[in-house]
Amino acid sequence: MARQGSKGGSGGVASRRAFLKGGVAAGAAAGGALATGALGGSAMAQNADNMAPNVADWSRYLGEGVDARPYGTPSEFEAHVVRRNVEWLTASPESSVNFTPLHDLEGIITPNGLCFERHHGGIAEVDPADYQLMINGLVDKPMIFTLQDLMRFPRVNRIYFLECAANSGMEWRGAQLNGCQFTHGMVHCLMYTGVPLKLILEEAGLKPNAKWLMPEGGDSSGMNRSVPIEKGLDDCLVAFKMNGEALRPEQGYPVRLVVPGWEGNMWVKWLRRIEVGDEPWHTREETSKYTDLLEDGKARRFTWVMDVKSVVTNPSPQAPLLVKGHNIITGLAWSGRGTIDRVDVTLDGGNNWRTARIDGPVLPMSLTRFYVEFDWQGEDLLLQSRAIDSTGDIQPTKDELRAVRGTNSIYHNNGIQTWHVRSNGEVENVEVS
């Protein structure tokens, strides 16, 4: 387990990342003396041949033509921007999770290849020609729809975040993982194209006693959850596109359910069937899992909504501060109950707060991007962000959460995150009084 990367990748990336780590360590050794110049002047390994007044090869010779990259991929210099997992968390990679690299991303839309993955029986590889969606139970007629059928319904485009209810679940007992990718990376935000579930249910005809839906996945875990019919008729989508292209296999190709604002586990991937019933099913994923164990041994069930939450993505442990002077704090905020009204940021562990600047679209049940510009002269910082949503819910401190729920809940940890920025720019996951 070598800590830093000589492994694979281009020289540029390896040396840049080596520098980031090495530079931070060296800075620490030198008593926190950081360069005050620009990032380009200090942080990256450079080749003078490419820089003024010289003329770089790429400015002189022809590059690859069109079709060299029929499906485009990121620059080789971005090879470190990947999903990562925490191997020891789970017994097998088919029943496991990896995390979105939030600290490497901007805006509110997550690139398709970087959306975290959570599978319970591996990735189902579904042939779209054989895809069927069955609707049965309390309907006038049990129905089967092909993918082509689904694409003939009127469809809509909606931007939503998806957060796993276990996001930040490792942090209930205290600071554990050094990196917002690991503490907060079970979230992504996409534009979905899909059919309102209501239209599909109406096509089968709901019986008057229809009260619950049971979406079921076509993977080898047969993922199933109980969804109240009100939600299904309100804003759920049967989606087949993410950010304009077909769903990725790991996100449920060819069809997944979208359950806006509610825990990610309910957004059943590889959707094969929806049964309509008059009672909930109490499936394994809403009894054994996705129930919130309290201190007295009682457990809350059907805790569907993802509460208001935010995190500073930069700086963060994987993205240290590199330069003194003008710097930018940025992060993400979201709420499953509505839009983000406000994000406050503190540099001193919660003593004094300033309201962050929100930039980009502010949409219900979507990620929202915030910024704070500030001047840093190498002082220790205790960074936190606190979001408030359109229902008036305020992101709580971790201690406020623990006071009402104890530390055994696993799920729905929306507590305020603290990053300790040291004088050398290094950042650590901490908790404060």
């Binding site: 129905m143 875990s221 003593n351």
Partner: protein
């Protein structure tokens, strides 16, 4: 590619026929999209079981029969006594642990309904060979798990479609509804913006536990 080309041809013929029929048996809805599902199609996929027993197939199995199947198909991961091996899930034990520092959530200590055991085992287990067990096998394994959790004490116990819905798991009453928001909201007042707490101390560091995965480890 179908492993049974003959069947695939028959299948294609049936499909063509059903497409013809579909024109007549179109949906009740306003778009006329999709076709009615045939009974045998629904029967093949409709595998869910509810606490009241809805969905249970005919069949039965004893604790002893369950032990045999469990040792053969499940014990490698879940242990001979359903106690769990390495990081694979624990299915038994954990009684009275829920309010402790280290809760052990099992079928016996935590799960509210027995139907979930049947539903989940048939749809998802054994891991990597889902929907392969017969109803009698699932009844028998479920009986064995009940026995390992001391929910039934008699190793001649037989679980069946008839007595299934009468079985109760010990923790059923401890599930309660969602009570959020359970922390302060704007209705309780504006959050503090300045001089909120005076001295701030660092009370915990991730570095101490140091469980962060190697940042260059590949997936």
């Amino acid at each position: 590619m179908s492993r049974f080309p003959e069947l695939a041809r028959v299948g294609a013929a049936t499909l063509a026929l059903s497409l013809l029929l579909a024109a007549g048996a179109a949906s009740a809805g306003k778009f006329g999209i999709g076709r009615e599902a045939r009974d045998e199609e629904v029967a093949g996929w409709d595998i869910d079981i509810r606490p009241d027993g809805q969905g249970l197939p005919a069949g039965s199995g004893s604790v002893q029969q369950g032990e045999e199947v469990f040792l053969e198909l499940c014990a490698a991961c879940h242990g001979d006594f359903a106690e769990g091996v390495d990081r694979w899930p624990v299915l038994s034990g954990g009684a009275d642990s829920l309010a402790s520092e280290d809760p052990v959530k099992t079928v016996g200590s935590y799960w509210p309904y027995l139907s979930t055991v049947y539903d989940y085992i048939y749809r998802a287990m054994p891991f990597g060979d889902a929907q392969s067990l017969t109803p009698d096998e699932v009844y028998a394994i479920t009986a064995y798990i009940l026995y390992m959790n001391d929910v039934v004490g008699d190793e001649t116990f037989v679980l069946s479609q008839e007595n299934f819905a009468d079985m109760r798991l010990p923790n059923e009453a401890n599930f309660i509804p969602d009570a959020r928001p359970d922390t302060p909201t704007l209705a309780d007042g504006e959050p503090c913006m300045s001089d909120c707490k005076g001295q701030v101390e660092i009370t915990g560091r991730a570095r101490i536990l140091d469980v962060t995965p190697d940042s260059d480890e590949s997936n």
